[in-house]
Symmetry: C2
């Protein structure tokens, strides 16, 4: 899908350099075929979204004349004070370090534009969330793929590359319930990564949209990130309150706050005051409310992950290496039989009416074929019955 000469006419080098949607991005933007069971999107279950509470909070907002007027007018570029305060308490940092964003992708693109020089190299998870590479194209396409192991981003691998003379502007990783590899970065490696960043003077872009969705295992903490001048922590309400809000946040080192606000204010002034006002009301009217939303969601996702794994074991015994996730939205099973062609399997599965993201979409290093042996299933927005039916169709495709 190369742009024709007409489309290129008068475009900036930046605009010309942005690739067209393909692979993961194209699949994420497309509407699924009718009748197909989609395990494509890392999106919350509709039943996990607190629609009734949102309706009540909206009603209160529009019936409160002062709040309604404030919600319709301009707001501070950094985000509303009450929302920043709540987020700061949630993260355990000073409110002055919070900037409200239009969701996680916006946090990533602001981070990229602020600390990744044009043409610089960025170390990235391998496999990697392709949306980050999509955002990264705003500054560069040069990446240093770093393997994601059972305990996350391979910090030793990066350390060896840095010791060998490689220089990077930033390192990107999803530390909690990795997308797509489901694993979490161990506490000791979080500390080691930050120490590397401080020693070599790069930033760690910590993409943490699944952090709240833990249903097993031990929290490895974010104190190492929040305690460093070299970490940009990106989170969002996307996976808990819904992608449609487009409301998220950054926890920034103090020296990056003003530069990020200057950039974000130029791009679109501030995040919607309306969405901020509703979310702020939800979070602050009842201090236990958000915890309850998270508890309901994680109970649901634990059940769904279990149903998917059980169905795979029952209907396709031995076909996959499966690790039970401790949280998040994804299962990243690996094909055990090297004779299975993942591309052919994907086509047959689609023909049988089950859609997922093939592992190759997540390969940061195209020469490295290990991601292609995986499938990414998103179990979050499908019921246990749908998940069992999806696996039945997948079994037909085998």
């Amino acid at each position: 899908m190369t742009a024709g000469p007409e489309e290129q006419s008068g475009l900036t080098a930046l605009a010309r350099g942005l690739s067209a949607p393909k692979g993961f991005v194209d699949a994420s933007l497309a509407a699924p075929a009718p009748g197909a069971i989609s395990l494509l999107g890392g999106i919350p279950a509709p039943v996990a979204l607190p629609v009734e509470a949102i309706g009540r909070a909206s009603e209160q907002l529009w019936q409160d004349p002062d709040a309604a007027v404030a919600g319709l007018q301009y707001a501070p570029a950094r985000g509303s004070a009450a929302l920043c305060d709540w987020i700061a308490r949630w993260e355990g940092v000073d409110p002055s370090r919070i900037v409200v964003t239009n969701g996680g992708m916006h946090g990533l693109s602001l981070a990229v534009l602020t600390v990744v020089e044009r043409g610089a190299t960025v170390a990235v998870d391998d496999p990697v969330f392709p949306g980050f590479l999509w955002a990264l194209e705003m500054s560069t396409t040069r990446t240093l793929p770093v393997p994601v192991l059972a305990d996350g981003f391979d910090v030793e691998h990066l350390a060896r590359r840095l010791a060998g003379g490689t220089r990077i502007a930033a390192a990107y990783t999803v530390p909690d319930f990795h997308n797509p590899a489901q694993v979490s970065l161990s506490a000791s490696k979080r500390q080691a990564l930050i120490e590397l960043a401080e020693r070599y003077g790069f930033y760690v872009i910590v993409d943490n949209p699944y952090r709240e969705l833990r249903f097993g295992g031990q929290d490895q903490g974010v104190a190492a990130f929040h305690g460093s001048d070299r970490a940009i922590h990106v989170n969002t309400f996307t996976k808990t309150l819904g992608p449609g809000w487009r409301v998220g946040w950054l926890v920034l080192p103090e020296h990056l706050v003003a530069p990020v606000i200057r950039l974000r204010n130029r791009l679109d002034v501030h995040t919607s005051s309306v969405t901020q006002a509703v979310i702020e009301r939800l979070l602050t009217d009842d201090v236990l409310w958000f915890d309850q939303v998270v508890r309901n969601a994680t109970a649901l996702y634990r059940e769904r992950a279990g149903a998917l794994i059980d169905a795979l074991h029952e209907q396709l015994p031995g076909a996959f290496d499966i690790v039970a996730p401790e949280g998040g939205l994804f299962l990243w099973p690996r094909l055990t039989d090297d004779a299975v062609d993942p591309a052919a399997l994907f086509r047959r599965a689609a023909a049988h009416g089950v859609l997922y993201q093939p592992g190759e979409f997540f390969a940061a290093d195209p020469r490295q074929r290990s991601s292609a042996r995986h499938l990414r299933f998103s179990y979050s927005d499908r019921t246990p019955d749908e998940l069992r039916e999806a696996v039945r169709r997948l079994a037909l495709a085998f």
Copy 2:
């Protein structure tokens, strides 16, 4: 307010190059002093915002299970289909040319990033909306100031510069109810500007957030812009439904649609589905509703502009050259007495409790002193009584 070495550490050239808020931007971001009457912001009157209808539409949205779920999930990058369709009918263009934005500033910054190469020159209104220069810094600080005359942007002036060899990536103007100069670009000059753009191969960035707010005079039309491959038309619901939504739109030439969507999708995926869903419902449930909102607002702004002008004539006779606006939110009176120091007047006025934007904030060419002889009063969000009291305080400052 130069950034210190710590703040500059590891920042991109882009981030380092973005200036800190000053002048107009600083005044716009600051909270006004208590007790002061602010004529600072080009913002809608609270009473002109349809709070009750918004409340009803929100209630319906959250009580409609399908709509609620759709409003909380991801949406197309270009904007929701129904909203794009409504906007396309409003603008009289094909829906495929509409991209929903996070408000007018977002439209401007997307236009800049798409068609203004780094370091390129852009012709701009003089006086100019400083927010555009703020957005323009994403690509360049090189401008070619073009005087704004009684019938708008001086197209002849630009034509002479182009004939003399000057080359520009884009020309920026506010054609309807100019900010700050209140005038509108004549129909013949709209056509002439587009012909220049097509001949020399630059883009016209048409910033049109006040277009709906006409309360006098003759519409000069937008067909010249919509009929050209060289015009990017930027509009927003900010001045009619409220800045807090952060929802606006672009009318693009067909060849720019895909590049702009690719850029916008990278920056923050899409505009909030929640805000789009509420606005779409308001606009489409009753096809006459938006016209009524606009009619109410313009009647109010006509009355307020009149009250402000009457008070100036009564309390400060002869102090200003005043042109009655035909629409929009601003009065741009010119000091008649060259002995009056506008900076001293501004300080005394603030001390007496009336705040406005001094004309110098809008000068595109700092060597040209004519803007500094003007004051920008925003009359839209003050009642007639407040406007009269503001003028009484201003008279004390004289």
